[in-house]
Assembly symmetry: C2
Homo-oligomer: 269 residues x 2
Amino acid sequence: MSIPLTVGNARVKEARKLSRRPVRTERRLFLADGPKAVEGALRLPDCVVEVFATPAASEAYADVLAPARLVTLVDDRALVSLSDAVSPAGVVALCRHLDVPLSWLVEQRAPASASDPRLLVICADVRDPGNAGTVIRTADAAGAVGVVLAGQSVDVYNPKTVRASVGSVFHLPIALEPDPAAAVEAARAAGYTVLAADGAGDVDLFGADLSGPTAWLFGNEAWGLPDELAALADRRVAIPIHGQAESLNLSTAAAVCLFASARAQRHPA
Amino acid sequence: MSIPLTVGNARVKEARKLSRRPVRTERRLFLADGPKAVEGALRLPDCVVEVFATPAASEAYADVLAPARLVTLVDDRALVSLSDAVSPAGVVALCRHLDVPLSWLVEQRAPASASDPRLLVICADVRDPGNAGTVIRTADAAGAVGVVLAGQSVDVYNPKTVRASVGSVFHLPIALEPDPAAAVEAARAAGYTVLAADGAGDVDLFGADLSGPTAWLFGNEAWGLPDELAALADRRVAIPIHGQAESLNLSTAAAVCLFASARAQRHPA
């Protein structure tokens, strides 16, 4: 059995630099932390470069690590230095970036017809890493075909985003598009009806026809969708709010909208 | 104009101790941080003891603070010491605890009949302060009549919970009940049908009749509902999960369930 690498080892040090977004972007690499994420990454071809594991975790998660071509043992301190989890589970995969071009996503996953019940998610300027990961997880659970992180959104390879997605960043194709309007136009050109989730919208979510191919457009946590972007959507849809709350937060609003779509598309009344 | 109190002032120091749960519990006091929370607190009779504000914030939020009987000016450092926000807004209210007895909540808010569309939320062992606040906000938005934090749940007066609720801790009656089974029994005795949100449940959320008075029972973030507690519910209801995700997180799952109820109760097909 090889001797576990320590925190000062050159490979561990290089991997640790991936905690910084510019380094991730330049190298097109990121770290996937914990058995769930590592398992998801190992299911994809050509995603995992190597897996770092403590000796204890390499035994505890032997099943998860079985498909890995390269498992590098590291000591506890080295593993902790690669993880931003409060309680690291002991396995971290060094992964290649996964994002696909927007054109590939909308063309490969284009609706076959106006009645094809497909679901696409476009997030514009989502800033909180946990929210982005939660929306990706929720999109996966609602049966979406992909997610576009548009505008000045948080890095999908942020460790908090990867963790909050609980493996879903490895399940769904994700496209990154700096221009949210381009994402909306591409989705519409591919045959999606674009619905803006907008608290001030004039269409009631529970009165809307959601059965056809739908691309949901969600805005920023604090300021929502800018008016000029929401205006590009086919409809502006509001969740009816009761009680004295003024709104929902981004990830709960997305969950309500996406599961209203999943219900209409997959559980017709 | 009075001189702002500094971080060493005895009243500021006493208020600061409320960052600790045992102190909050013993004194039945807590701090509500930011204009949204302070506004909500000031709308309630007998909730706010005093408001701490920086001179700048007392001008910026003069409208919000108008109903306050006592506004104490503090300097920036003293205000920051009372807030756990990353960017404190400059106003913090010292508030009395708001929770109501479980018996009061279920009796005062009991359904008038088996067709009265009332919604109650019971959380068992919710541990993350942000999740608890988000569920309270979502319950408010879905028109719920109250929330029970049962079992070993996070303190509803945790500053992160209060902040994540965006004022909803001041809108809805909240009961604290150490025994989750007692909460379930009390809700049922009051006329609610108790639905356990349970990924392994045998009833499909989108096939269930949700039109009557409903108490939703949600479990812990990591381990869900213990089997013996879920078994006390009238039905165990699962959100249909598509894609490769295995589940939703607590606050998104609660949002999907609560808005499915709101839809059935308020937007009959």
